[in-house]
Symmetry: C2
Subunit: 377 residues, 2 copies
């Protein structure tokens, strides 16, 4: 297979970038949002739904797939693409983020050593070991198009000394990930920049990774509970630490307004459970901002969520009907609202790509913030 | 609007009937199965899904829609068809069955008088009154294509004296339903034959209803807990008590093998929550009989539920994937399995229609029972 590669097609005066990332399962137009398919399913949607709503690439969670149904089983069934019948690109994370999230929630559930990390399954409490090599092995078995290195994701706040030590561990794990990968698989491997909210540590982490040479670079350790201005501070300098000719992935971000600002900061790829999780809680996104379908005022509104929206939900169903389905806990309503939110995110990215191509991203950004009532951070 | 009418197209030597029922929202080819859309949603499916899977007509539950969101609200929003964006025919029940089911489950929840029935809402315990006239008024507000008279559905077993009295009450309610209906609405109204498992009482009920003249006739009070042979006994004579030129609806039935036998007995229309409810419990129907996707043996089976099935689920997803989705409580799996079961039921009906048209229903029936391992009664 051909190696994955990124084409930087255009950079807008704002610094926003328009690109194309080629993978074994087709190319992805950036900037792009990746719906999160935790356990081989973007919750409530099928692969046919994802295709219909225009998803270009989805994310799979290595931690969940490793525990259930298991990467070896998925490999025997032909890989993750075949398993879920999704023939477009897939990015898998390393599993580390979920492991460390567990650690934050359960005392002694997670133990980090040089070799790797020991953790207990949230399903049955069984003990497991994850190393950079094992994370690669699992992701190769899954057959994703983009793999992520195992890194340590420090909590916020964390001591500077701890962050400095941790980023060195993540760099050593990055090197081991590169060594472990099968270079002929065609799967891309991204390194992850850590360093907390400290500019010099971010610089050190980025320089270390870039020297090793990855197919793309992610900013990790953001959107982990820090005040939002801290994240924007990091995004004001960190993208420039990365090679302009490679894709830049902001992990776990974010709200629609975050995506617009992060694209302006020069980031290319994003993932977040927000559009899918919020849909299941009745929170819908529109160009005017969020609305919650639970509210009594929607009980008798015979118009769609957004009259300008072209998604299956808005083309066919009223706010009153969705309000009714939500109150009755009807599964069909959860799916329709998820379709809407995912469509909204993908359309937002498409609008940004168009604006960048036309050198009018700053105007786009102003217009967006003039219309959009932001979600609270 | 034109009045609804039934065309009896063909009767097979077995007695199975091929017909067409014309309604304000199009015609329905019989024999037909009607998926149950309890609260303005066939659970897990959208109206687009129902259309894609080939549903011709669905059923709505007056009891549920009356309580939430309310028939007056639905009427203000343009009726049930507009509310759920389903432009094909809808049959609504009278609400009586759910009311009497409540009565069987809760002491003093239901009180039956000549005038009508008082009951408490299962949602909030509030007190409500349903009469033949109110049942018609609600169904006219919903705008269904086929309305059902309010009847009393006696439990099984019931004393003969009670059954005799009850059927007379249901006949008086039938008369009141006919008087109450707006004859210009174009909505059909069906009478319901009661009389328990007593042949002479069934005869008395049918004769009373036929003398009044309904647009169709249903057999009620079956599949209410009686031994299955009792139901088949009633079905051996009751269809012949009804006019051959009008549709015959067997309420709340049933399993695939029940449908085949009931069509042979001369019935035309059916509804049951089995295909949708069982799908949500992981039980899938195939021409070989039922299978439960929960079973460990499906964990690694890379073939579809039924390799001959043309539904979206079987064309795209493996047993292993569905097993995984079910174990992970993924909503997408519940929908895919519902799509399969509903498709199976609709295809079974289509095969029966074809066999009747070709005068080979007995051969079809033999072939069906040679291949299908029946569900336990």
């Amino acid at each position: 297979m051909n190696s994955p590669f990124f084409e930087l097609l255009h950079t807008d005066p704002s610094g926003a970038r328009r690109g194309r990332f080629h993978t074994p399962h087709g190319s992805v137009e950036t900037p792009i949002f990746m719906p999160v398919g935790t356990a081989a399913s973007v919750k409530t949607l099928t692969s046919a739904d994802l295709k219909a709503v225009g998803a270009q690439i989805i994310l799979g969670n290595t931690y969940h797939l490793y525990l259930r149904p298991g990467h070896a089983l998925i490999a025997r069934l032909g890989g993750l693409h075949a398993f879920m019948n999704w023939q477009a690109p897939i990015l898998t994370d390393s599993g580390g983020y979920q492991v460390f999230s567990l650690g934050a929630n359960q005392a002694n559930a997670v133990r980090i050593r040089e070799e790797g990390v020991t953790f207990r399954s949230h399903l049955d409490g069984s003990s497991h070991f994850l190393s950079p090599e094992i994370a690669i092995q699992i992701q190769e078995a899954l057959g994703s198009d983009i793999m992520m290195q195992l890194d340590e994701c420090p909590p916020y706040p964390a001591e500077r000394a701890y962050l400095a030590q941790s980023l060195q561990l993540s760099l050593r794990w990055a090197r081991r990930s590169l060594t472990a990968r099968n270079p002929t698989s065609g799967q891309a491997l991204f390194g992850i920049v850590q360093g907390g909210m400290e500019a010099d540590l971010r610089q050190e982490s980025a320089a270390g990774l870039v020297a090793m040479g990855f197919d793309g670079y992610a900013l990790g350790g953001l959107s982990v509970g820090e005040p939002k201005e801290k994240m924007w501070e990091v995004l004001s300098y960190a993208p420039a630490l990365l090679p302009s000719q490679q894709p830049r992935y902001l992990m776990g971000v974010g709200k629609p307004d975050d995506l617009v600002r992060a694209v302006a900061a020069g980031m290319d790829m994003f993932d977040c459970v927000l559009p899918t999780r919020n849909a299941r809680n009745g929170q819908l996104l529109t160009r005017h901002g969020p609305m919650n379908i639970k509210q009594a005022r929607f009980r008798e509104e015979n118009e769609p969520i957004d009259s300008a929206c072209l998604c299956e939900c808005c083309q066919n169903y009223s706010r009153a009907y969705l309000h009714h389905l939500f109150r009755n806990k009807e599964i069909s309503g959860l799916r329709l609202m998820t379709l809407h939110n995912v469509h909204y995110y993908l359309e937002l990215m498409a609008s940004m790509r168009e604006a960048i191509q036309q050198d009018r991203f700053l105007a786009f950004q102003n217009d967006f913030f003039n219309h959009f009532s932001c979600l609270p951070d």
